[in-house]
């Protein structure tokens, strides 16, 4: 770091000379092949990013303190794993990835400030980060103003598109519509009880769900409830659920509230093996806290489960556990976070440049065949083509996949008729 800053003070010509001189003795020691692969820095980095002849710096921006640390820890772990694996394969355009990690501290202004710091001071070539929509919305203007590239891993409510962001999670329709179609067909679900935490993502998701239930599926909504973040008392709504006897409970409760919600459902005698429950907010991570015995039988609609049976995923799970411990679990967002560095690497190599504008333009059509979820492709709207899957929670805290869409679903962040 300090070296880069020092050279930055000198004139560009002198900087190049110094670098060239420093590189001279190194060249003779490098194996021929890797030298041939690495193009000159000046050619692939015309905008002054933190790229040297041997290194490229990216930013990791997540909350490791505050209330979101529980969720974002997995994302950080996945991104570090991906970076390590890419480096082991020789890096990006012959350059090893170095990362600077910043803590958003679960505080949206802090996210914006740290994003600016990463882009302006550190000149990072890309940022992997954010989790909540609130943090992304805070970071977005910074990314656009300073022309950075953000790889955002969480499934989210859609209604957004930016040339400076690649959304590696699902947007709302990719998760909600497929799940509801499945539950209406397989579980004969006609009446739905919608329950969520009270902020933008659950509310937007429920709006789309309600339109789909009432418009396309011909079902009815028996109730719709929101509770403040961190709410821990669900007895009243559970009573209402018992009275209205919906075919399906459809839930988007987030964070620690989930633990309270499922424990109290279980305690109130609602047996999830009889009462159909479909959630879009519980992954293996949350089950760790909820306890498998409290949620066994519930269905979740995601694009990824740790139990996915394919060679890519087996490798990924093994590598993740090797790096972060046998007891760690991998949820949907963790996998989406893992995609970030890989998609960025492939885009950079396709563009033949680290320049953000060239990457933004080259992103469309990037395919990642080694994705743990199977295969993904970046759409021109910067979201991923992906499958939707329904898994049933098991006692051991894992999901058993009971359904997956046969085709990749085209991302549609601005769905017609659902707004």
């Amino acid at each position: 770091m300090s070296d880069e800053k020092k050279t930055g003070l000198h004139s560009p010509l002198r900087r190049k000379l110094l670098m060239g001189m420093a590189a001279l003795p190194a060249i003779s020691m490098l194996p021929r092949t890797s030298f041939a692969q690495a193009p000159a820095t000046a050619a692939i980095n015309t905008t002054g990013l933190a790229v040297t002849d041997t290194e490229v710096t990216v930013g990791i921006l997540h909350s490791v303190t505050g209330t979101m640390a529980i969720s974002e820890t997995g994302s950080v772990q996945a991104e570090k794993l991906a970076i390590e694996q890419i480096n082991a394969m020789g890096g990006v355009l012959g350059r090893k990835i170095k990362f600077i990690q910043e803590d958003g501290a679960s505080d949206w202004p802090t996210f914006a400030e740290k994003a600016k710091k990463l882009l302006v001071n550190d000149k990072v070539a890309a940022i992997m980060g954010c989790w909540t929509s609130a943090s992304r919305k805070a970071v977005l203007p910074v990314m656009e103003q300073y022309n950075g590239m953000l790889y955002y891993p969480t499934f989210y409510e859609g209604l957004e598109q930016s040339k400076n962001v690649i959304y590696t999670g699902q947007e709302a329709t990719q998760q909600i519509l497929a799940g509801l179609d499945w539950v209406a067909k397989e579980k004969k679900g006609k009446s739905f009880y919608l329950i969520g935490s009270d902020y933008i993502w659950p509310r937007t998701s429920m709006k789309i769900a309600r339109k789909h239930i009432e418009g396309k599926l011909g079902g009815k909504v028996a109730g719709e409830e929101y509770f403040p973040l961190g709410h821990t008392q669900f007895n009243s709504v559970i009573n209402k659920i018992k009275l209205t006897k919906p075919d399906v409970i459809y839930a988007a409760v987030v964070g620690g509230s989930n633990v309270a919600f499922y424990k109290q459902l279980k305690a109130a005698g609602i047996d999830l093996s009889k009462q159909t429950m479909l959630t879009i907010s519980v992954t293996e991570d949350e089950i760790d806290g909820i306890g498998g015995e409290n949620i066994a039988g519930a269905y979740a609609c995601m694009k990824y489960f740790q139990s996915l049976d394919n060679p890519n995923n087996k490798e990924f799970v093994a590598a993740f556990k090797k790096m972060w411990g046998e007891k760690t679990v991998i949820g949907d967002v963790t996998q989406a976070a893992y995609l970030g560095p890989w998609l960025w690497k492939m885009t950079v190599e396709k563009a033949g440049s680290f320049d953000v504008d060239k990457i933004a333009a080259a992103s469309a059509g990037i395919e990642f065949t080694k994705a743990p979820e199977g295969y993904v492709k970046i759409h021109p709207n910067h979201h991923l083509w992906s499958k939707a899957r329904v898994g049933q929670a098991q006692l051991d805290g894992q999901f058993k996949v009971v359904f997956e869409t046969p085709e990749l679903i085209e991302p549609d962040p601005f769905p017609k008729g659902y707004q």
Partner: protein, 308 residues
């Protein structure tokens, strides 16, 4: 609003909501009792109260793990051991904190707010370093899960009954300690007039330490009980702190009876409103009415009559 339900349904609704309100009431009392002792009796604003609860929750989690590994045959009874250990752990930490931090601040009550807030951050980070950032799942013995069927429509969760019994027991013990035991008399004497209490030979420092320890210990028991209904993570304690202060302040800080009355009022209001409107709206209305009542009665529902 009522039109969608039949008379029979409405009867069941009020019975079930009344019971849900009672559970909420017990939870509030458990949360607030420890704080009421510390804040009400000692005037210390303990922002780390939630973290003392979570210490109790982590102790419960570790005890459950210990029983699963080494004493699986006794697992069904581990919870009682866990609660005692939680009381000891939180109480001991409380006394340590009183000795190291709080006793230097008795003359500056507002500074206790800052100091304990700092303490809460330190504790959160300590939990994160020791137990990890993710939530841990506390497994319960099977007899504590499920519910009792009373009528066709009315079902009573067993952990709710458990929390209610626990609250009743702890409240009675605390009431006995505070109003009947010799030590309780000393506590109340110190509260009313520290100098005079010292002059008649009460060791006020010792009283302070044990009072603080008792309050934190009860927080530990509450945390242990909340593993049944809530999450256990480094920052979970934050979920409780606002409600806890609300209950204590609304009740009139220095009165334990006021704490119980205010917990009852808030929980029943919240629970009844929750049924007929959305959860968030019920919360907003509860808060608004509390604000309104506190504007009329700033000292809370029940205040000690002290000559000013």
């Amino acid at each position: 609003m009522f039109g969608d339900y039949s008379i029979g349904d409405l009867g069941a609704i009020f019975a079930m909501q009344g019971f849900a309100g009672l559970i909420l009431f017990s939870v509030y009392v458990l949360m607030a009792l420890g704080l009421a002792i510390i804040f009400g009796q000692m005037g210390v604003i303990n922002m780390a109260h939630g973290e003392f609860m979570i210490l109790g929750a982590y102790v419960t989690w570790m005890t459950s793990g210990f029983f699963q590994s080494y004493l699986p045959s006794l697992f069904s009874g581990y919870f009682f051991v866990a609660m005692i250990l939680a009381f000891i752990a939180s109480g001991a930490l409380g006394m340590l904190v009183e000795w190291g931090l709080i006793r230097h601040l008795y003359k500056r009550p507002l500074d206790t707010l800052l100091a304990t807030w700092g303490l809460s951050l330190i504790l959160q980070q300590a939990y994160r370093s020791v137990f990890g950032a993710r939530e841990v799942g506390v497994e319960l013995p099977s007899w504590m899960m499920g519910s009792k069927q009373v009528t066709d429509t009315i079902e009573v969760p067993i952990n709710g009954i458990f929390v209610m019994c626990l609250t009743l027991a702890i409240t009675m013990v605390v009431a006995w300690i505070m109003f009947k035991s010799r030590w309780g008399q000393q506590v109340r004497a110190v509260v009313q007039n520290r100098v005079m209490a010292g002059a008649v030979g009460i060791n006020t420092e010792k009283v302070d330490r044990y009072t603080f320890g008792l309050g934190c210990g009860i927080a530990g028991i509450a945390g242990s009980a909340f593993t049944m209904i809530g999450s256990t993570g480094p920052t979970s304690g934050q979920l409780y702190i606002v409600d806890t202060f609300l209950v204590v302040v609304f009740g009139g800080a220095a009165s334990l009876f006021g704490t119980i009355a205010s917990a009852f009022t808030i929980s029943q209001a919240q629970s009844t409103m929750e049924f007929f409107m959305s959860g968030s709206m019920a919360k907003v209305l509860t808060l608004l009415s509390i604000v309104a009542i506190l504007m009329i009665r700033p000292q809370g529902l029940f205040a000690l009559k002290v000559r000013k």
